[in-house]
């Protein structure tokens, strides 16, 4: 047996077989490694690509990173259909099966505690985008078609733009906070993530809320409906739902709701407007 062991997730044994053709990173099929009443979901990856130096180089290649991330997420996603997996971070690689077993033994209590807490729960991602804010690139706002005739005009236009921007931001903040309050009331836990950058997400608009909610599967339908209902509430904002995800955002040690600090995912209104 050559090659390294890539570990996707840890879960409890489950009855349903994995999809027959479940391929993981590097195109290799994912398999199960049972140990101490837990299951590591693994696949064999070539050392040439996943050894330390090679892996470092690969991870700097956005195309490789994207393909690997999607493959990783694909396996975790497939697991979510049959059990509640604890997803591991990308590129968790061991020498061989016995090293994976040692890892399980060292952390089994932690794994069990997390699995108990997350059992039957999924993560939903909710993002809010402010459309107008993004339609207003500095200096080329369509609202100010005329070239300023004088410094005074320039300033007037600039001030007007600044005020409009500030209003948009205040509205965005209010909307994001209100939505978050409603959603977190229906979720067991939440995490506020930093807003996403549009160059990476290729989404239009500016991301003002980027949150993850931990919701029991049994209540997911209601949660999805709740999000859907808020979509058209406020013109100028777009609400996006992703999921269900494995509970990626809730595998950290801080189990409480205030874990990541309030406001981390809600962009502050532009304070630069003096």
């Amino acid at each position: 047996m050559t090659g390294l062991r890539y570990v996707y997730a840890v879960c409890r044994p489950f009855g349903t077989p994995l999809q027959a053709e479940l391929t993981g990173v590097a195109g290799a099929p994912a398999g199960l490694l049972h140990h101490h009443g837990l299951v590591a979901v693994v696949s064999t990856v070539p050392e040439a690509d996943f050894g330390e130096e090679a892996l470092k180089a690969h991870l700097e290649d956005l195309d490789w990173l994207a393909a690997t991330a999607r493959a990783h997420q694909g396996v975790v996603d497939a697991l979510t259909t049959v059990t509640t997996p604890l997803p591991l971070r990308l590129a968790t690689v061991f020498r061989d099966d016995s090293a994976v077993r040692v890892m399980i033994e060292a952390r089994e209590d932690h794994f069990r505690a997390l699995l108990d807490r997350l059992d039957g729960r999924v993560e939903w991602g909710v993002k809010v985008y402010a459309e107008e804010a993004a339609d207003e690139p500095a200096g080329s706002a369509p609202a100010a078609p005329e070239k300023p005739a004088s410094g005074r005009d320039y300033l007037r236009q600039r001030r007007a733009r600044g005020q409009a921007k500030e209003e948009t931001w205040q509205r965005a903040e209010r909307f994001a906070h209100a939505l978050h309050e409603r959603l977190s009331a229906r979720a067991e836990d939440f995490r506020l993530h930093p807003p996403q950058n549009s160059a990476l997400s290729r989404e239009s608009g500016l991301n003002v809320l980027n949150a993850a909610y931990l919701v029991p599967r049994a209540h997911s339908e209601e949660f999805v409906e709740l999000v859907d209902h808020t979509k058209d509430e406020e013109p100028g904002f777009r609400v996006e739902l992703t999921g269900p995800w494995a509970a990626y955002s809730f595998t950290g040690d801080t189990g409480n709701t205030a874990g990541t600090g309030d406001g981390a995912g809600v962009a502050d209104a532009g304070e630069e407007v003096s």
Partner: protein
């Protein structure tokens, strides 16, 4: 983007997810275990994801008040430059405002 009425079943794939959603989770979240192959994903994430793509729109985002990367040591020098540029613009504007208040005294200058 989202299909209305999408139900928790089947869990085929996290629908509506873009690459940023996936990277955000697989790189930043999930259980962290030091495997036999030691990789500092923080470095990776900075270089490929944050630096290459986020810096491109730093000016716009900063203008909007989103500045979470400022606490990021790897990006802070860039962020500091931006801060200087912003301060510079602010000072220019204040100066222009003063000139506007007292048009007679300050020499006119194209903005």
């Amino acid at each position: 983007m989202t299909t209305p009425g999408r139900l928790p079943e089947p869990y085929g794939q996290a629908s509506g997810a873009n690459l940023a959603d996936i990277l955000e989770r697989v790189l930043d979240k999930g259980v962290v275990i030091a495997g036999d192959i030691r990789i500092n994903l923080l470095d990776i994430e900075l270089l490929t994801v944050k630096l290459r793509l986020i810096v491109a729109s730093v000016d716009k985002a900063k203008e909007m008040g989103i500045d979470w990367w400022e606490s990021d040591p790897a990006l802070s020098s860039r962020a500091r430059r931006d801060e200087l540029a912003r301060e510079n613009a602010e000072l220019r504007e204040r100066l222009a405002r003063l000139e506007e208040l007292e048009p007679g005294r300050a020499p006119k200058e194209a903005p």
